[in-house]
Symmetry: D2
Subunit: 400 residues, 4 copies
């Protein structure tokens, strides 16, 4: 992408180019084409270990240069922002080094695989901020317009005192017991299963939407399918893995079920699963307050349901707001009312918001401290699950 | 109602004539008009303490005679079945006495306010059965055609191994903190709050649909509004209760949130509330199994959503079955396809099923033992909530 | 049904006891059990040609006596109201005779098979009214609470100037070309096909909801399956009708599609079909006005969708009103909010409203004149369809 | 956009840069980043009359060069494809000239404002094809994955013999009578109103989905608000236009309502409006066939509802297919299941399909002949509306 604008450039260097790398690339490529930005993102370089593969990805996704060592990427002069799209076990090392190298950092969620790593990252971000570098974690669902608007309505008091928070995130790609044992099902690589992958999203959303931290949780987790065909076996036997292929143990959760409390005392419930047959990407949210309620379903992401409890009973009801009006967050730059957006737009909005924050020298949200707070909730979930579901307090970030 | 049929009569005597009494009356009045029954229910007598009020109710609802003492009702020669529609604190006494008086008994849910009462009732029912009297508890939602059909699909294996059970029952009639302190908010009369009222329904449904008992639970309960205007104060001040009216303490829960496990290991989650603004009678159910999923919403009670996981991915999806076909439970006797039923039809179906069981001398379901099992789950919920949500085993009925 | 109330009796005599007879019986049996009525309906006698069958129906449905000749039924002293539930070709003769015999009349829809018959009936009703007898036509869907409430909202001006009326009524029981040739598919008996059966309902609803007559229509009709197995052939061959069974011509429409104008100039569209696979009883309505819109679907009959165009764009949206609040029409007498009603409740409401009108000596709606106006629209539809869809004026009733 | 790929370049020159220009730019920018394309689109130049504005647009949207005269653009050596995004009254002149200049052409819909223009364009396209230039019209909704998949299901016979086609496209931006009189409400510029704008889309979709041309139509059109404030008056008076601002006549339709027949005899109904309050971009489609039915709503564009009439009645129902599986059209290149797409993706898919057609030298669909056929239907609609809705045959393209 050439630098075809009058705004100053912001060089971006991305580490990783798989699913998240493709999504982030779409964000960087598109943000300045839709929004008026104070800085123009330039897709300077992408980094991956395999020289050929990263070159192919760069051509395909539109990155100007490639690196095979992230340590080189983070020292490039044409890179001011490092975008970390690797698996969770390398987030801490790369992000901290990039911050220390004087770069701004966008780090994919979950922030890290452990609380200790996340603490180190939040510390590094706090120090970097004093030097003028900013850090943000990529909880992209905050940038679904309907959810950003939900937050606005809540912040304006349209729900009143909160009573209930109900969030589930259900997928079904592991229903088949012959689905092979990928790295995502191994604890040493993935940290946890549905909990870290899907649970991180919904814990962040619950805290973002309510504006309140979770103060404690009670949890159960489960691995329904305890052994799966090894990928090599599965691949080699062309579907006949059951016949004689080797199997290995699944060492992460397939599903997690937990309840909690927000700081104001609302009851919160959470469920994540990769075994919910028929549910593809079903992140659903409901909040009930004394003055109103909101409901949302990611499979219908342009819609927000709102019940106004002040409405007379005879005409009251959940109204389906199409969140596509120019008054809605992010929508002033897109299409006319009713012309919906999709999943990847969250990455365009994320890029836009981060660019604005960098230009203004302001802390972007969610911060690494926010990411650390999510990590602490997930740790409390795992601790509670080990302790027979007993209600387990969540350590609070000082900054959160 | 005259006895205008060739089938032998089954005399019914009902205790109580409020909301549930009206609903049961509709059931007794209608069942033989729609279904072909082996016995013809005759609405022999209704019982209430106030002579004038019960006489008015009898005329209105169609009962042939009245009583003001349930002890007299249960000895009437023209009564073979006693239908107990009183609040929960008198269920045990009336139901046990009626069984011992040689009558069949239908008892409204929840079976009782305590496990001890419920055990006594289950024992009495077991003894009565040997003498030929039958007892049934009124979990009427089992008779929603869509839920009865859901049970059939599950029993036939269409969901396969169950992974997730998710049931919520949300209402909003207590959102307003000025709503007065009725008996339903006082522990000594009501036993518990949303838990006993709504929770009993969804625990029974979860066990009915899965065919599996819950083996343990982890729970939180909450009373969001801790004091409310006394009814006299509220009434006397015509809405200005806040000004100076007396208030009393709410001694039951407004909401309960619990997770559990079924005997086969499925993860189960439950939530009940009277504070979920905008939700009127929102009993929603979802079950995910290895072979398929089901979803149901009581606010759309003629519909069942079914996902068949064996369907090719490209044409798979939750299908909305209108449960109004002659092949569906109870529907052979009602209207053509697409002509939906309502809430009260569950009581017609309950009457029909109980009449068939009595004619055949067969145990109707749900039995008092089933009602006791629900009571044990509710007790475990309260115990867990007192013990910091720790996972608490549910004592199992020998019969269940 | 014994006369167990202090209200004066209103003796009802019903002619016909098939689908509509069963539905009307449910209405007469239930109305006084739920609503406080000024007159108590007594199910005096039912009439049918076959002595045994009518006796069985009387026992089953709860009628006190039987007749085999409607001419005798309409002269019975214990009958003050004649309820005509026969096929359309006998409506005129029975209804006119009953009115002339000094009885009130409820006549099933459509009012008649021809405009001439309907005119005679409207004339007879006008004369009868002067003598104190009242006549009503059974467009029961006006008594769905959501539609009665929709009419209220429109009458209050909540939609403003109307622009669009869109009503369809789709069923699928004739999709199978081997479905046998019943009387409903023969013009001499049924008058027309989907048009008279389903079209009468939606034309009445459009006129009722808008409060405006249709002034003209443009129409197409179609008979997709032009020959069907004769019932005897179909029955005799146990499903193998195609092999060699006789077939006969279908002489009515399978579907009709028409557009029209209301008297204020709104554009109206209508479609009825018995060939819309997957649609069981899908009567859907949408009205768009300058100030708001309403949408309704009979398969979800407890819901009404309302868009208030005065709401700010950012929070506007179709709200799903559960029409189960005590403020809603008919609901004060039924169950708590969220406990939905079904199809047959429309007949209970119809009975209630007619009883009130008779007690007050007031003209019930819809009148025979309203039924005549519907008939004139259907005649204009058939005329337009024969004339290449040219816009065809609808003759207006003087009274309508 | 630099040419950062190994595929040969395809230079694109676009005329116009408003709403459609922005949407097409998004398509050209993204197609090769997501799909593997045989040619790499290069955004060579954009053309607009105002030099400054077009320069700003080029920077913003990513075009390498600018032109202020389309006659120069179509002769540029670096342009092989001309993308016409101007209003309809200039389509014919630009598209024909571009084809004659040896360029491929993509022309926005509707193809033209008159049948005569459309015929000239179809002729030019036929001649150009012999020389190797290809022409396509931009009916982008064919590229909504759910609609592309619907076409596949129909082509495979999953609906069987078609009985009903029902398509509406409703918007509400003209509900307010004070909305000013823009060029879209003036016949000399816009050709027609909702009919040409929205009606062109749904006529094309009906013909695309069924694979059948419409053979005749019966129509009504309406202009509900006959005068509107002139834009200058409206602007100058800041909302107080009613007070004394000038008004001008609206010379196009606000809404059109028409019925028709497909070549196989299915009944078709259509409605378009800019006055349907609460409907933002509500393009809804339903098709009923002997073997099944499909339903679609553009406001939920990732979903397709499918009823399989071969399914046993007890488990049959409209299933909600999330059209986000890799098996679905276009989805192999996007995100995992359940991660939905939005409106603008249709332009990415359009770019992809056109690039493939050009690389293969194959006629892309929809062709200019297809666009002409739509134009003929719209002309027949206007003719019928002038002739009292009489059924009016549609002239058939020889090629269609």
């Amino acid at each position: 992408m050439s630098h075809d604008t009058t705004a100053p450039a912001l060089g971006v260097g991305m580490v990783g180019y798989a699913f998240m790398g493709a999504a982030h690339s779409q964000g960087w490529r598109t943000a300045a084409r839709v929004f008026d930005l104070p800085l123009h993102p330039v897709m300077a370089a992408v980094c991956g270990r395999d020289e050929d593969k990263v070159a192919t990805a760069a051509r395909k996704l539109g990155w100007a240069a490639t690196e095979t060592d992230w340590r080189r990427l983070i020292t490039r002069d044409d890179v001011q922002l490092v975008d970390v799209c690797t698996p969770g076990d390398s987030h801490a090392e790369i992000a901290v080094a990039a911050l220390e190298a004087g770069k701004h950092v966008l780090c994919e969620k979950p922030l890290a695989n452990t609380v200790a790593e996340a603490e180190a990252m939040a510390d590094a971000a706090a120090r970097a901020r004093e030097r003028g570098q900013l850090a943000m974690v990529g909880f992209n669902y905050r940038r679904v317009p309907a959810l950003a608007y939900a937050r606005e309505l809540i912040a304006r008091g349209r729900l009143g005192a909160l009573r209930h928070v109900r969030v589930t995130y259900l997928q079904d790609w592991l229903v088949d017991p012959e689905f092979p044992l990928a790295w995502r099902m191994q604890r040493e690589k993935a940290g946890s299963g549905a909990l870290g992958d899907l649970g991180a999203h919904i814990v962040d959303l619950a805290q973002f939407l309510t504006g309140e931290p979770l103060v404690g949780v009670s949890a159960q987790t489960e691995t329904f399918v305890k052994e799966r065909p090894l990928p090599s076996a599965a691949a080699g036997l062309s579907g006949a893995a059951a016949g004689g292929g080797e199997r290995g143990p699944v060492t992460v959760d397939d599903a997690a079920l937990f309840t909690g409390r927000t700081s104001s005392g609302a009851l919160a419930s959470f469920e994540v699963s990769r075994m919910a047959s028929g549910r593809k990407n079903a992140l659903s949210v409901e909040l009930n307050g004394e003055a109103g309620s909101l409901a949302f379903d990611l499979e219908r992401l342009n819609e927000l349901e709102f019940h106004d409890h002040a409405e007379p009973a005879e005409t009251a009801g959940f109204r389906r707001i199409l969140v596509t009006e120019p008054e809605h967050p992010y929508l002033e730059a897109w299409w006319p009312p009713g012309h919906g957006l999709g999943y990847e737009h969250t990455f365009v909005h994320q890029a836009r918001d981060l660019v604005h924050a960098i230009a203004a020298g302001a802390q972007p949200a969610p911060s690494f401290a926010d990411g650390l707070q999510v990590q602490r909730v997930l740790a409390a979930v795992e601790e509670s699950a080990e302790k027979n579901a007993v209600f387990t307090p969540v350590a609070q970030s000082d900054e959160a």
